[in-house]
């Protein structure tokens, strides 16, 4: 069976502005949600706080629990957790100030006491997470560091194996995927937890994967079809690898979709992030990674000066964008 009857020949590059617009729209939607919510929704891993998951022997409503916990200090979040018949309620309390002695556990203890006092005694603590501010901050820092270094590592590797402009293209595609993913997370009400950040780091690897396959084909074609224009050659390469790109996204998509459906509540955020990341990764590979590489390369051809490569790439990227915009406008 074949996805395409003969070699496809879509003109992806012609659509790149529409593609970028769509991406921008998604990102702006996410930013809008971020602004209205007043910041990134951080899980307790990063903001500190208390999270208790309770399982009741009979079905209990969020409101009943909320009423019972009226005496507990702090802005509480009480939500149903897991499937409808799981009878699990999640209670989240904010960080109660700098950790002094036993204050870390006060919240969790208060919740249990309040429930017992209000007569709802048959519950079990399924899981409990208490994160103090010190750890929360450390994790935030480590998370950001991990991203920065991962991006750098990828830039170096791709730049080394292919060309520097490809490296930039790969990084831009990855950054795009991260932004889109964060936007979608916020849009659908997920918060940044350790698992979600881990998924995002995985997406960086995955997105680069896809881009590398295209770049590899470009490299091969450069050897074979030297005389073709660079952007046409890139377009051809994308088309040649299209079947493979779509199928692998599909199959990885199946796998993470199975994770989302069957994998349990704890991994929901992770699975969702992966699904968005896989879709976005495919999209960014086809429309973004290669386009950026073309911008840079064409810009470099147009300038023709002996300026150090790194400087050229960054300067040229902005200049060539302006030039192509002017060219498209006229």
């Amino acid at each position: 069976m074949s996805l395409f009857q003969k070699q496809p020949n879509f003109n992806f590059l012609a659509w790149r502005w529409q593609a970028l617009t769509l991406s921008l729209a998604l990102i702006i939607a996410g930013v809008a949600v971020l602004v209205t919510r007043g910041g990134l929704p951080l899980g307790i891993d990063f903001s500190g706080g208390t999270l208790v998951v309770l399982e009741f022997s009979g079905s209990t409503s969020e409101d009943t629990v909320r009423e019972a916990l009226v005496s507990v200090e702090g802005e509480k979040i009480v939500q149903q957790y897991g499937g409808v018949d799981a009878n699990q309620i999640m209670v989240r309390l904010p960080q109660t100030g700098p950790e002094v002695g036993t204050s870390l556990e006060d919240g969790a203890r208060a919740v249990r006491t309040a429930l017992n006092e209000s007569g709802m005694t048959d519950f079990e603590v399924v899981s409990q997470e208490l994160v103090g501010p010190v750890i929360g901050q450390e994790l935030r820092q480590r998370g950001i560091q991990a991203f920065v270094f991962a991006m750098l590592g990828i830039l170096v590797y791709v730049g080394f194996r292919f060309r520097f402009s490809f490296g930039i293209g790969a990084i831009v595609a990855v950054a795009h995927d991260i932004f889109v993913t964060v936007s979608m997370l916020m849009f659908f009400g997920y918060e940044l937890s350790l698992n979600v950040v881990a998924a995002m780091l995985t997406i960086t690897g995955y997105s680069v994967n896809d881009s590398i396959v295209v770049f590899d084909r470009v490299r091969e074609n450069l050897r074979k079809m030297r005389r073709d224009r660079f952007d046409e050659l890139v377009n051809t390469s994308i088309n040649q690898t299209l079947a493979r790109t779509l199928i692998t996204s599909g199959t990885t998509g199946f796998a993470v979709f199975a994770l989302y459906i069957f994998g349990g509540e704890v991994l929901k955020g992770f699975a969702f992030t992966m699904i968005v990341g896989v879709i976005s990764g495919t999209y960014s590979t086809i429309f973004i990674a290669a386009s950026i590489a073309i911008f840079i390369t064409q810009g470099r051809n147009n300038r023709n000066q002996s300026v150090p490569l790194a400087q050229k790439a960054s300067k040229v990227q902005s200049k060539s964008k302006r030039r192509t915009r002017k060219a498209n406008a006229s």
């Binding site: 899981s127 998370g143 698992n195 994967n209 692998t248 199959t251 199946f254 994998g263």
Partner: protein
């Protein structure tokens, strides 16, 4: 040619067998993380300032005693903070003598700072301070380890953690009574036996009545719950004036165990080591008729009168339940914590959640594998079987290797397994699409297959290295469950290169070597 293939087939079978052996039986061989097994994970910070405070106060006390012996009368010796000793009121005429004494006592660890006449400040040296801090963390680690071992938890982890050198990680898999475990770990358990000069009295004022409200410099006031058998006070708080320097401390204990007192109530008996026995004998021998306060963590537990010289055993009585007496002896046996502990992070996973997570993970893996298998068979027809076998083998090798190196499987790690399915399929799709292309250029089946694999090797290596870079940073960033994910992902990536390139190819070559094949079901 066929000998070559024979070797390849043998290698594949060999690896499969090894993986199965490493894995069987799965319940024992695979190490589960806390999030799958249930248990508690805690990060504690050692308040090293406490330990420094004790050191500085002790040094100050020793200096005072020495000055007393020499007859130098000073206004006060206090520890103004955890690293500074402040002496005020040094008489002018004995200044030089004082300085000499102070140098003798303190110059090893403290530096003198210039101050106003008659006032001296001694500050702990920076390297000494950091040594003491490290010491206290190490001691705390050892003490916690001893206590955790006594708890009877299987495979606990007590280890230094994080940057800053003062954090300790404690992981207790399978622990059910988390609160009790925390109490035992956190209990400072500082035991001091001090001679009582005055008391018990109902309030501090009563206690100091005969001394015109002034606490003598070598004494201090300690409170405690009054002994209900004590003649004077009813149940409430009592105050004792005790000598500051302890006669014996918890360090002099040889053993502690729960026992019964004369009313058959639970109590804790402790016995002394040689040094301790000697000290205890001296103190009791010289103070017959006085009371000896048994002070635990700064509160008087009981203050019996010394009837005669005792060297061997002591006993703490109080309102203990049996569990409390047992826990207290546990804690005394393990030694006191050099500093108090603060909790920075705690995560508890109940056992049911752990089991549920495993179930969910397995279900997701099977579902993912099935979905992928169906697709591969439908799209690539018979070659799809090849892909499914390769992916299944990849999972097998991955699990086998993890079991072999005792790697921990966490819940995100199971997600990593599922991702590995995706990656495995990815590689096979890459190969198959390439083979299709080669077939289109009419090379003949065997040549097309060989060429397809050869062309694709570099791409596969490149993509896997890029993902490994991401996994490496994940490992750096994460802890616990996420590290498990990074490990699983990394091993899966590496084994995937083997299964996609070597195993897949071997299967193709074996099937194609039998007879002439004109078309490939791909």
């Amino acid at each position: 040619m066929s000998k070559n293939i024979q070797w390849k087939v043998l290698t594949v079978i060999g690896v499969t067998v090894l993986s199965v052996l490493a894995l069987y039986p799965p319940q024992e061989k695979i190490r589960l993380g806390l999030d799958l097994e249930g248990g508690v994970h805690m990060v504690l910070r050692v308040q090293t300032d406490d330990a420094l405070q004790v050191e500085t106060e002790t040094a100050g006390e020793q200096l005072r005693e020495q000055l007393d012996l020499q007859g130098i009368v000073i206004a006060s010796v206090t520890a103004t903070d955890s690293t500074t000793i402040r002496i005020e009121g040094v008489p002018q005429d004995r200044d030089a003598e004082f300085r000499q004494t102070a140098e003798d006592q303190l110059s090893a660890n403290y530096d003198r700072q210039t101050g106003s006449p008659g006032i001296y400040n001694y500050v702990m040296r920076a390297p000494v301070e950091s040594t003491y801090r490290d010491e206290s963390v190490r001691q705390a680690l050892q003490t916690i380890e001893r206590r955790v071992n006594e708890l009877g938890v299987a495979e606990p982890i007590v280890a230094p953690y994080g940057v800053g050198g003062d954090q300790i990680l404690v992981q207790l898999p399978g622990v059910s009574d988390v609160d009790r475990a925390k109490e035992i770990i956190r209990n400072t358990a500082l035991l001091e036996l001090k001679i009582v000069e005055d008391g018990p009295a109902g309030s501090r004022e009563d206690l100091l009545a005969t001394r015109s409200g002034v606490i003598p410099p070598d004494m201090e006031i300690v409170s405690g719950i009054s002994d209900s058998l004590n003649s004077s006070a009813s149940v409430g708080t009592s105050y004792y004036l005790v000598r500051r320097v302890a006669a014996v401390t918890g360090r002099d204990l040889r053993n502690a165990r729960s026992s019964l007192d004369e009313f058959n109530q639970p109590a804790v008996s402790f016995s002394f080591n040689r040094d301790g026995a000697r000290k205890f004998g001296d103190v009791t021998g010289n103070n017959i008729g006085r009371s000896l306060a048994v002070i635990l963590d700064g509160r008087v537990q009981t203050a019996p009168t010394i009837q005669s010289r005792i060297t061997d055993e002591g006993r703490i009585t109080g309102n203990f339940s049996q569990q409390e007496a047992a826990d207290l002896s546990l804690v005394l046996r393990s030694g006191a914590l050099p500093a108090s502990l603060t909790y920075l992070e705690e995560r508890t996973v109940g056992p049911t959640l752990g089991a549920d997570s495993i179930e969910a993970g397995v279900a997701a893996s099977v579902a993912g594998l099935l979905a992928v298998a169906i697709f591969m068979l439908a799209y690539y027809r018979l070659s799809g079987i090849n892909a499914v076998v390769a992916v299944a083998m990849n999972l097998l090798i991955l699990m086998g290797f993890m079991a072999y190196v005792d790697a921990v499987l966490t819940l995100p790690g199971i997600a990593g397994l599922i991702l590995t399915i995706g990656i495995g399929v990815d590689s096979n799709v890459l190969i198959f699409e390439r083979i299709k292309e080669e077939l289109r250029s009419e090379k003949g089946v065997r040549a097309a297959v060989a060429s397809g694999f050869d062309r694709v090797l570099l791409t596969i290596l490149d993509t896997h290295v890029a993902s490994l870079i991401a996994a490496a940073f994940l490992f750096q960033f994460g802890s616990g469950p996420i590290r498990g994910f990074a490990t699983t992902l990394a091993i899966g990536l590496i084994s995937n290169v083997f299964t996609a390139m070597f195993v897949s190819r071997t299967i193709f070559e074996t099937l194609l070597s039998r007879r002439r094949v004109n078309t490939l079901s791909i």
